[in-house]
Amino acid sequence: MSDARTLFDKVWNARVVVAREDGACLLWIDRHLVHEGSFHGFGMLDHSGRRVRRPDLTFAIADHYVPSHSRALPIADPEAAGLVATLRENARRHGIALFGLDDPRQGIVHVTGPEQGLTLPGLTLVCGDSHTSTHGAFGALAFGIGASEVAHVLATQTLWQRRPKTLRVGIEGTPHPHVAAKDLILAVIARIGAAGAVGHVIEYAGPAIRAMGMEARMTICNMSIEAGGRAGMVAPDDTTFAWLAGRPCAPKGAGWDAALAAWKALPSDAGARFDREVTLDAAAIAPTVTWGTSPETALPVTARVPDPDAAEDVARRRQIAEQLAYMGLAAGAPLEGTPIDRVFIGSCTNGRLPDLRAAAAVLKGRRARVPGLVVPGSVAVKRAAEAEGLDRIFTAAGLVWGEPGCSMCVGMNGDLVPPGQRCAATSNRNFVGRQGPGARTHLMSPAMAAAAAVAGAIADVRKIVA
């Protein structure tokens, strides 16, 4: 029996406080991020008369309901304003650090948490948001939780969990130019399906992952949940350590040396056993676009949407027909050339500086043929992008440059795609009604969304920039 262990095994084992005979484990939580939507969890805590056990490990960040237009005025929507105020009040009452609306650290929790060095290798991190899987890019075990679990973590800094299974996704080879992390993860989800990783923690490995910067790894881990994964993880390496060094909350001095020694022992041992393994060749992946209402409906941009009549069984036929009807697409139509009404560039999936650079590289000197919104993932990203002049490239192309937040990915702040309109989006979900009732979403990379803006239609970025 080998004692070789996976990255996940090492992080999990070091955080089990109590292991019950029935398999339930009480897991220590190192970092807890809360946002406006966490008010249900705070309400339960208050209702039970309990207090936050570790306010020093809890961070409150406004992102879901914040406006993308000017921050100079109060939030016009009274309910949204109320939720932002409630977050501020809950943070104050419980002594939790707040990155509020006017704070230079404000941003999407999954962008600003890593920027601050709150996310570190080997830690457990949770948030009442399914895209918490993002933080696994650093070799942390990070996952989304519901409101009751938010209340449980607030009160105890722990969670009851059953040990998940492990899935290794190996991405071999080198992607072609203009093929981004988003294309790779969409291809992974198409391959294993929207429920392909249910009950599993995914470890992404292989040369294509090792060659990626941290932002690209975050894009990959972010969408683990779209394959049903409990979490996604990447083993920490020199890229990770260089990115973290000097971050405000990262260890310093002798603490950094001790951390580094611990982190270097985290990668999966040679011969470690995974419950399942899947391998993809990055060189075989083209710029990728979704056609339907699940992220698993991802295809190369050169492909045609499916024809229900060609499906193998009745259930599949009906499923394809329903999705085509919602999306307003004809069976067997080519994806490329499908007219779009708007673009959205941003979100916790693709709202970081390299994402904005990739979009700007396509838009530079070109005009968008449709309206569009570009929303940086955090104030820090916004300032860095403006220092490089990216904002001027977007506005010169005719797009709107917004204030940081979740924005049109989920539309809670009122940034909605009107009914029946088609949006090329860099976000993570193309669900029915996700960007607004009747909205039609095509998921793609920042460069592909920029290409779609220039063409006014779903386009192959390789042809636009050629």
């Binding site: 009480l26 059953r162 929207a194 249910v198 001790a258 499923q319 669900f431 009604g433 996700r434």
Partner: protein, 191 residues
């Protein structure tokens, strides 16, 4: 939490895969307090589009669903909408992990059963016996199911698991003291 033991009630079938929590409750209702009556938001937009949609608040206690039910967003509001709408048990081939966890915390039983709709689709009433781990059809057919032992106990006893956790205070405090220093916060967040 309302304890769950044996449930006998009307069943309805939603035979489609990947029903995400955005469909179960659109995002714009998540800002509402629980007292607003989350049953009013259950499949709100789907019902506007599909008048014959089979899931409606107050019409069934058991929902027989397709694979990957409750995938996507972690919003517990999806569970509130189902529970406030009278659903106490969802039977499906698979569930979104976060949804299933949220369900258990609110007394909503999730039962994993392959081919759930094909096996149970003909029955308009079902009995769900959690202690015996069985689904029973009116014609006497019986289907056994597995469930995590801890989750089963919490559901049957209607346990407050924060209270349960705090029984482990000594172990928790010892663990807290033994954390490596690098895992704690090394500095304050800064601009």
């Amino acid at each position: 939490m309302t304890p769950f033991t044996v449930l006998a009630g009307r069943a309805t079938v939603l035979d489609r895969a990947n029903v995400d929590t955005d469909q179960i409750i659109p995002a714009r209702f998540l800002r509402k307090p629980r007292s607003a009556g989350y049953q009013n938001f259950l499949f709100h937009d789907v019902l506007l589009q599909e008048p014959d949609f089979p899931v409606r608040a107050g019409t069934a206690a058991v929902l027989v669903a397709g694979a990957n039910f409750g995938c996507g967003s972690s919003r517990e509001g999806a569970v509130y909408a189902l529970v406030d709408g009278g659903i106490r048990c969802v039977i499906a081939p698979s569930f979104g992990d976060i949804f299933a966890g949220n369900a258990a915390k609110n007394g909503l039983l999730t039962v994993v059963l392959a081919d759930a709709a094909a096996l149970l689709g003909g029955a308009d009433r079902l009995t769900v016996d959690l202690p015996a781990q069985a689904i029973i059809c009116p014609d006497g057919r019986r289907f056994a199911f597995d469930i995590d032992a801890f989750r089963k106990r919490c559901l049957i006893e209607g346990l407050d698991d924060i209270g349960l956790t705090l029984q482990h205070e000594a172990a928790l405090a010892a663990f807290e003291r033994g954390l490596p220093s690098w895992a704690l916060l090394a500095g304050s967040p800064a601009p």
